[in-house]
């Protein structure tokens, strides 16, 4: 039987690629080490599949069609952006797993929007290229949640969707070992006058919730509070909730945290190992 062996949360900061040398050398080294450590753990766990939960940035989906939740079942490639060091290329989709999640979601009452030919953005490509691709043979399932454009997905719904994903995986008749990545956050302001501000206290609170596998506290945060304290970019913690819902009972560990003003983001990395 297939199983989710771990969930990870990590950022997807494009400025790491447009301005790679902006922060001090030791900061850069620690961030690179965090991605490398997660890549290493994914390999050590013998993962065969990775679900990456990304976030819309008003790039892939325009005002004509704004989905709450989308799953890529079919051709996947990306990223759509030209970012130095993040080459565009195909991403091998685990189609049977994506179909299983889709069918399970419909049965559970989730109205998945489906992509048969998805060009992902940096929110999928950065975790993919830094943490998954270094391990050969791991197939990917890309998912998008509405985190940046109203109406954003309800946080409890994001968690429940994760639980549906977890059930669908558990019901698969395969030997797949699956990791799920919540991609985004933590504190950052995108495109607003506060851009460059970071709130390490808020970020620490979020990482503590992840480490304690305490979804309820994150669900309890209002969007107004999140935006005020940690910026519109912090609304992306919905992806963390989805990953937490999927992994279920798990032991948490914060892997790294770096507040990097040059990259306008509080960069948080954590693991939830299934128990």
């Amino acid at each position: 039987m297939a199983q989710i062996v771990a969930a990870y949360v990590m950022p997807h900061d494009p400025i790491m690629f447009t301005h790679p040398e902006a922060p001090a050398e030791d900061v850069r080294a620690r961030v690179a080490a965090a991605y490398g450590e997660i890549a290493r753990r994914i390999g050590a766990l013998g993962a065969t599949a990775a679900i990456v939960v990304g976030t819309d940035h008003y790039i892939l989906f325009g005002p004509q069609c704004l989905p709450q939740m989308l799953i890529g079942v079919g051709d996947v490639e990306g990223p759509i952006e030209k970012l130095p060091g993040l080459p565009r290329g195909p991403i091998e989709n685990h189609e049977p797993m994506a179909e299983a999640i889709l069918a399970g979601g419909f049965a559970d009452g989730f109205d998945w929007t489906v992509s048969r030919a998805l060009t992902v953005d940096h929110s999928i490509s950065i975790p993919y290229q830094l943490a998954i691709q270094p391990n050969s043979g791991v197939r990917t399932v890309p998912i998008y949640l509405a985190c940046g454009v109203r109406p954003m997905i309800d946080k409890a719904r994001a968690f429940a969707l994760g639980a549906s994903i977890g059930r669908a995986i558990a019901a698969m008749h395969s030997d797949d070992r699956v990791v799920i990545i919540g991609s985004g956050g933590i504190s950052h302001w995108v495109g607003t006058a506060e851009m460059g501000t970071i709130n390490p206290r808020f970020d620490g609170m979020v990482l503590d919730c992840v480490e304690r596998n305490d979804a309820a506290s994150l669900i309890g945060l209002s969007d107004a509070l999140i935006e005020r304290e940690a910026g519109n970019g912090a609304l992306e913690i919905r992806t963390f909730l989805c990953a937490m819902g999927a992994v279920g009972r798990a032991k948490g560990e914060v892997i790294a945290y770096e507040p990097v003003p040059e990259w306008v983001t509080g960069l948080g990395f954590a693991e939830l190992r299934a128990v």
Binding site: H57, Y58, I59, G62, P63, Q64, V190, G191, A193
Partner: protein
């Protein structure tokens, strides 16, 4: 009057090559494709990103169209414009 029209225009300018080209050649003609009030039209044409955000436009869109089609596409100038009083009126 239509926040939606503004967001559609900014989205197209952020992601669509043909829209970018048309806007660079003749912003006013390009913007007539959208149902914008005169003040909205002026905000978009003059890159008044502070007023656009005050109007309710998603800041990812104001940043995206700035990076794609503003005269000086740097983030530094975007932030300066965002924090400065509008050229067209009070801050």
């Amino acid at each position: 009057m239509s926040l939606h029209g503004v967001e559609k225009a900014l989205y197209d300018l952020g992601v669509d090559r043909a829209s970018k080209t048309a806007f660079r050649e003749d912003p006013d003609t390009f913007l007539q494709r959208y149902r914008l009030a005169p003040d909205e039209h002026a905000m978009v044409a003059s890159f008044d990103v502070a007023s656009l955000i005050a109007l309710g436009v998603n800041p990812m869109l104001t940043m995206g169209y700035w990076i794609q089609v503003a005269p000086d596409r740097s983030m530094r100038s975007y932030m300066a414009r965002l924090r400065a009083p509008s050229e067209k009126g009070p801050a």
